[in-house]
């Protein structure tokens, strides 16, 4: 159940145009196991769309259905208004970049990239011109005569990308495109992918298990769990207005408190949290029944932490003791044990280099926590 999101405006793609990809009621069964369970999806032209989920949630199966490598048990797939559900992979206006890259080991980089164009019967001069152009774009022109085993991981990834893009597909499917790269290269490559997507204007559909990657890359994200979509929206929408507890804890970290509705007037709710024996105020755009059980969720960076007591007119105050500090350079994460005994996570940026002001509180210090009524979210399940 969603609460609190309705009064917000959101950045959504251009809805005036028809969606480029339309997935209707797709089901995929493997024996008794349902990998994809009645999924509907619309992806718009030029979008960088991510399907995010833990392993085994059905995201790769869905991608393979889009590529034509798996046929759905029921449902239809439209690309650009044409039903492609029963088209074999080699007749679809869609190309895929495999997680393993699947580079042909017996062909050079140039021939790997040229393979798709050859199968399309593109004439020789035109073909090699396009291969050169795309290799130039991914900065691999110097290595075009190498075989895949003579390349580093990052170079292989770029060959796979070039090979999938050179046919100028309507849609590029990317299965965990960055998973095989080490951390630093992955961060560079994220921006590289976004640059290339902008340059070629092809619609990207990325499957990933890495929520940070999905947040950085995507225009919109669909979070998948047990073969179904839980929520589809822009990264900021998923982060700030998660639909339920699953989304809130799957994307980023969150502090969750169980309580009851005391009062609710459609803009502001008062929540009683029994474990703290205190009341909290949350801005909330919907009416809630008095006495209803509810979860109050607040992100670690939305909580203000200080050693001095905030002014008494600030609502939502909690007193606690710093249990643990994780210093990560740009910020510190404080684990504060409250009087009620639960632990809240609070992050605070390390804005100054001065030694004393690096930490707002030290181990064992008393800390005052508070947050604005607009910074918490309520879930009714």
């Amino acid at each position: 159940m969603s609460h609190g999101a309705n009064h917000m405006t959101q950045s959504e793609p251009n809805r005036r145009s028809e969606p480029l990809i339309k997935v209707k009621g797709i089901v995929k069964n493997f024996g008794a196991f349902t990998a994809v369970d009645n999924v509907d999806l619309e992806i718009y032209r030029g979008e960088l769309f991510s399907i995010l989920g833990a392993s085994g949630c059905g995201k790769t199966t869905l991608l393979r259905i889009l590529a034509g490598l798996e046929s759905p048990s029921s449902g239809t797939v439209f690309v650009d208004g044409i039903d492609i559900t029963n088209l074999p992979p080699y007749e679809r206006p869609v190309n895929m970049m495999f997680q393993s890259y699947a580079l042909f080991p017996h062909m050079t980089v140039a021939h790997n990239v040229a393979y798709g164009l050859k199968r399309d019967g593109v004439a020789k001069p035109e073909l090699w011109k396009r291969v050169d152009e795309i290799l130039d774009m991914v900065e691999l022109s110097d290595l075009s005569k190498r075989k895949p085993h003579q390349l580093s991981g990052g170079q292989r990834q770029r060959v796979a990308l070039a090979r999938a893009l050179v046919k100028q597909p309507k849609v590029l499917l990317l299965d965990e495109p960055l998973a095989a790269l080490d951390k630093r290269l992955r961060e560079q490559t994220q921006f590289e992918l976004m640059r290339i997507q902008e340059q070629v204007g092809v619609t990207f559909v990325v499957v990933t298990h890495d929520q940070g990657e999905a947040m950085t890359l995507s225009d919109r994200i669909a979070v998948m769990d047990c073969g179904r979509f839980v929520q589809i929206g822009s990264p900021s929408r998923l982060y700030e207005f998660p639909k339920n507890r699953f989304i809130a804890s799957f994307i980023g970290s969150v502090n969750m408190l169980a309580g009851q509705v005391v009062r609710c007037d459609g803009t502001l709710c008062t929540i009683y949290i029994p474990s703290h024996d205190s009341h909290f105020e949350v801005e909330h755009g919907e009416y809630l029944d008095k006495g209803a059980a509810i979860w109050l969720a607040v992100r670690p960076e939305k909580i203000r932490i200080s050693q001095t007591s905030p002014t008494s007119d600030m609502p939502n105050q909690i007193l606690g003791i710093v249990d643990d500090i994780a210093y990560t350079g740009n910020m510190s994460t404080y684990r504060v044990r409250t009087e009620a005994g639960d632990v809240l996570e609070v992050t605070h940026p390390n804005q100054s280099r001065a030694k004393d002001s690096q930490l707002v509180a030290d181990w064992g210090d008393t800390a005052h926590l508070c947050w604005a009524p607009s910074d918490a979210v309520l879930f009714s399940e």
């Binding site: 495999f98 393993s100 290595l143 003579q150 170079q155 090979r163």
Partner: protein, 282 residues
């Protein structure tokens, strides 16, 4: 303690090698014996080599064996590759388990049984439809193909298990129709397995005595059949000369193969170094 153990290991090693190679050394040694009696030294001579090279019977047997081995290896590789491809790439089809079992059955079937049953088949066929009219090269070749293809199928299957299906899917995704993908991607990647399968089928055929002697006819002696029938008449020095020649050919083959493998390995290492050097420089 340490010294004792290493002495034990050393003597075990020498004994093992002696067991393997002394008989061959003795055989080579006596092939240069002038005497007609194999175990009696009568001075150095290449007399038996001359006898060997002048023996038309020997040449005929060698030619027949090589012909059968070549045809067998080629047909068995073709059929075995098809069987291997079906087993590892066709997914689940009705009767797959039965097919898999029947393809690999010749691997475990005693040769005597295979030979006998094939002989019965050929006799029955000959009575029913008049073919094969006589047993000889054709029947031996067919018999060899039946068991060689099982070996090829196993080799192809295990190689395909190591080739990611992603490659074939990627080729299809890029616009390759299934047959095109087989030619462009699967077959080139199978080449090492096909070469190994061909060589194995060739060797198996060249080596086979039991099955061949069941289905051979008068006047169609393969080399193993000839050697065996000669031995039955008593040890003769020209057989020693023949054995020496075979040992020589096999040794050269093994050395060349080893050298080629080593060279390929060095080349790969160099290329791998090149790749890492590049990515570090970037």
């Amino acid at each position: 303690m340490r010294g004792k153990r290493s002495l034990f290991l050393l003597s075990a090693l020498s004994f093992g090698f002696a067991f393997l190679y002394v008989p061959m050394a003795v055989l080579i040694f006596y092939s240069f014996n002038y005497s007609k009696l194999v175990p009696v030294w009568g001075g150095f001579s290449t007399r038996w080599y001359r006898v060997l090279f002048e023996s038309e019977e020997m040449w005929a047997a060698l030619t027949l064996s090589l012909k059968i081995a070549t045809v067998n290896a080629t047909v068995a590789t073709l059929l075995g590759a098809l069987a291997g491809l079906t087993l590892s790439r066709a997914g689940h089809f009705k009767g797959r388990t039965l097919f898999a079992g029947m393809v690999s059955a010749p691997l475990v079937m005693p040769e005597v049984i295979t030979g006998l049953s094939l002989l019965l088949l050929f006799i029955t066929l000959s009575n029913l439809i008049g073919w094969p009219s006589e047993r000889g090269m054709t029947t031996i070749t067919i018999a060899h193909i039946t068991f060689s293809l099982a070996y090829v199928a196993v080799i192809v299957q295990s190689r395909l298990a190591g080739v990611s299906q992603d490659l074939e899917e990627a080729a299809q995704d890029l616009g390759g129709k299934p047959f095109r993908v087989l030619i462009d991607i699967t077959l080139p990647l199978l080449m090492p397995a096909l070469a190994a399968g061909w060589l194995l089928a060739f060797t198996l055929s060249l080596d086979d005595l039991v099955i061949a002697s069941f289905v051979s006819g008068p006047g169609s002696n393969t080399l193993p059949i000839l050697i065996y029938s000669r031995i039955r008449l008593g040890l003769r020095p020209d057989i020693n000369a023949l054995a020496t020649m075979i040992i020589l050919v096999v040794s050269i083959g093994v050395f060349v193969a080893g050298w080629l493998l080593l060279r390929q390995q060095r080349l790969r290492d160099q290329e791998a170094q090149l790749a890492t050097a590049d990515s570090n420089g970037k």
